[in-house]
Subunit: 309 residues, 2 copies
Amino acid sequence: MSAGLLVVGSIALDSVATPFGQTADAPGGSAVFFSAAGAILHPVQVVGVVGTDFPLDALKTLEARGVDLSGVERAPGESFRWKAKYSYDLSSRETLETRLGVFADFRPKLPPRFQDSRYVFLGNIDPELQLGVLDQVKSPELVACDTMNYWIHSKRDVLLELLRHTDILMVNDSEARELSGDWNIYRAARWILGHGPRMTVLKQGEHGALLVSSDATFKVPAYPLQEVFDPTGAGDAFAGGFMAYLAATDDLSPGNLRRAMVYGAAMGSFAVEKFGIQGLAGVTLADVRARVRVFKDLVHFEVDEERGA
Amino acid sequence: MSAGLLVVGSIALDSVATPFGQTADAPGGSAVFFSAAGAILHPVQVVGVVGTDFPLDALKTLEARGVDLSGVERAPGESFRWKAKYSYDLSSRETLETRLGVFADFRPKLPPRFQDSRYVFLGNIDPELQLGVLDQVKSPELVACDTMNYWIHSKRDVLLELLRHTDILMVNDSEARELSGDWNIYRAARWILGHGPRMTVLKQGEHGALLVSSDATFKVPAYPLQEVFDPTGAGDAFAGGFMAYLAATDDLSPGNLRRAMVYGAAMGSFAVEKFGIQGLAGVTLADVRARVRVFKDLVHFEVDEERGA
């Protein structure tokens, strides 16, 4: 079985400096990382906006992988640009510049065939726009959304309204702390579950990700990597793998949600191995499954109920 | 089967302030946390020193749980004291005072029956003293040691000599980074394996612990806790659980080493739930096994080789 998968989010030109090199105006943004990862598992429908300066080649590459860009508007003006620099150990980054460009006036409009999507990911954009997208989807089966500290502080009421229509809030653990006002991530997760979502996925960077629902907690560590080049987009690639796995299997059982977490973590690991979306280029389903098996071994142990300890 | 388990380390009076309260001159130190946790699984032999001011009740409580203190010297003078304050979210701490007292002139001497110990844990003390203890053990089966940044910088050569006689280096990930000069923990682990130990256990606080050998990597997350009161001693409680599980089962197979990691993580979780060693008081083997089962569920997923994704 299979079901339509929709993402709305930023389509950006990223200029990123890490200790290993830098990029200038490379394709990025939440919708791009999400669909570059997700398309490995399932077709993705993208809603977003680019300026007249956006390189068409980058979009064509995504289309060739099964990404439907008919919801991407081309507006007069400059594309959204983001410039950042990472610390020597990649553990922190500084945003040097954010230029909204055509994103400032973006009002997402879904092509008719996108309105039947059953799996919806609302990437980190203004919660009013996220709600606006959701209004256009006829009967979604699963709605997941991301947000960030900026919206948590500037549009808290709208965000809380969005949460009431969201099945899964997928944020960094620092964002969960900000939103809930609680530094303990398990209490922060409970707070989230009390405000609408029936699950929350907390992204923890080099420490993996956590799924919390009312009756289960599941942890997937990060994939063991000896070389990390660019952490940009890892969270969105995770979201793409997670949502695309669920759409491809059309199965929301607890066991399948756990597998989706592992597919997400595998996608995040490919994303960080090269600059921008290059790490996801050329990755096959077999590559992903090989990493899923490594994850299985990474955490596997047998309980010893009958032994002498 | 069962084998002697020896620990050398500090026996301290800790004064710790957290957002939830504070203690003054409470029993602590690496050897105390190690044995308070380890004794739940297996008898522990302790080598250390206390001053004439150390409360005998605290030691009697340990003895009642199967800790052999005949290697603890009572020297004229003050006990080792450590004073620290944690940040509001317990993520960092500041050491306010360290008074070595009788620890300054400590020269560990093993009672004859301790010299047959087969499982040896060298807690975080001067690497010269760690080597001095090891010299007195006749034929150890497994030697694990801890260290800290202070020794990495001030006694690097002695520490490297110690590593050549160590099976498992068990340190915080920040210490592994300092020692190896590499911020990537998997490369840091490889560096360690190239300098003597055949395994390394990297303790990652709220993110669990990692076991790396030449042919396997195993990750155990931290136990999901909604209430953490005092992180002091979690790493030593982990070490106590890990080593005591190995001594109790006398089994160094890869599968049993993984289980030992989980028992260690369970002990660390009990340690942080109350101040000092109180979190470990009253914990039974059944309590520990219940947490081991929770760990199993926390990371469990089935691989889907045959499915359609």
